[in-house]
């Protein structure tokens, strides 16, 4: 399942980057930074990404997930800090 979730996140990040055009988001891997730190996207782009991902995950896996998280703004624990962390977080929500 993780590979399928990765594909969904990869597509969403690539779609977002069509507008943002960030060098760091061109090649999407588990280590690609998303939010927080000097290479992260801004908070509005994060909202757009997360809201779009909730929809994409539901369409792909047929299960509703809420990806809002109180640790969103934490540099260390935020599930949005990198593509890998976000993929793991979605897998965890899907399996819950």
């Amino acid at each position: 399942m993780r590979a399928e979730v990765f594909k969904v996140v990869q597509q969403a990040v690539e779609d977002l980057n069509e507008e943002l055009d960030y060098d760091t988001l061109r090649k999407v891997t588990d280590d690609t930074p998303i939010f927080g730190g000097e290479h992260g996207i801004d908070s509005l782009s994060l909202v757009t990404l997360v809201v779009g991902l909730e929809r994409d995950v539901e369409t792909t896996f047929g299960k509703k997930v809420v990806l809002a998280d109180e640790k969103a703004m934490s540099m260390v624990n935020s599930p949005y800090r990198s593509v890998g962390a976000l993929v793991d977080y979605i897998v965890q929500r899907l399996e819950a």
């Binding site: 809201v51 929809r55 509703k64």
Partner: protein
């Protein structure tokens, strides 16, 4: 358009009023509607039930493609002295008025973010600025709604979504059933315009908030009757 708390009172009136304006409407309440209304779909749910709210919003977007307007009308009141108010009452009032408004706003705004446009109208009350004795739970919950309105307005502005509130004076509905005539008379006495509120006073403000020209109006709560 999505309207919460549509089975009776102001919500029921809003269904008829906005159907006449041509809106396709989805609404909800805990119990079913007594009659069917053409162009209106009813969902039975508790507005504080996260999964049920998500299911409803998902279904509405799937059927209609988008949601242009959300009116967070569902609300409950409680009249009691603070020392005689059980925690359960405060929990119930906050669940419907605050958590329900939050959940519907969050879920509907997600659909509006995609469309990059939308109007959210929340219900406040004059009990908050008047600091009415005996209405602690209700007035405090609506103070939270006012604050939520102001902050959501800022956070959703980049997506071209406006968030505003209307604060009615007493209108003849079940909500004020338990309030004595004497108290209502005293309350009306504090208003600049001394009369009972009517449904048209409320729809007039909502109409203003949701019209296309009001895209520069957000984070505002308009109290009726000259109360501020």
């Amino acid at each position: 358009m999505v309207i919460t708390g549509t089975r009776k009172g102001i919500g029921r009136h809003l269904v008829d009023y906005y159907r006449k304006q041509g809106y396709v409407i989805a609404g909800c309440s805990r119990a079913p509607m007594e009659e069917t209304v053409d162009g209106y779909r009813h969902y039975c749910l508790d507005v504080a039930d996260e999964a049920a709210v998500q299911d409803m919003v998902f279904d509405v977007v799937k059927r209609e493609g988008r949601i242009d307007v959300l009116v967070n009308n569902a609300g409950i009141a409680s009249m009691n002295h603070c020392l005689l108010t059980p925690l359960k009452t405060v929990t119930n009032v906050f669940s419907t008025n605050v958590f329900g408004t939050f959940l519907f706003s969050r879920e509907v705004a997600k659909a509006m973010v995609k469309a990059k446009s939308g109007r959210i109208v929340n219900f406040a009350t004059v009990a908050t600025p008047l600091k009415l004795e005996g209405e602690m739970a209700y007035a405090a919950s609506k103070a939270a709604v006012k604050s939520m309105t102001e902050i959501m307005a800022k956070e959703l502005a980049p997506f071209h979504i406006t968030v505003n509130g209307v604060g009615p004076t007493p209108v003849k509905t079940d909500l004020i059933r338990g309030v004595s005539d004497e108290k209502i008379k005293a309350l009306i006495g504090t208003q600049a315009v001394k009369r009972m509120g009517e449904y048209r006073d409320i729809t007039n403000v909502i109409d203003f908030f949701i019209r296309p020209e009001s895209d520069f109006i957000t984070g505002q709560t308009v109290y009726l009757g000259g109360i501020s």
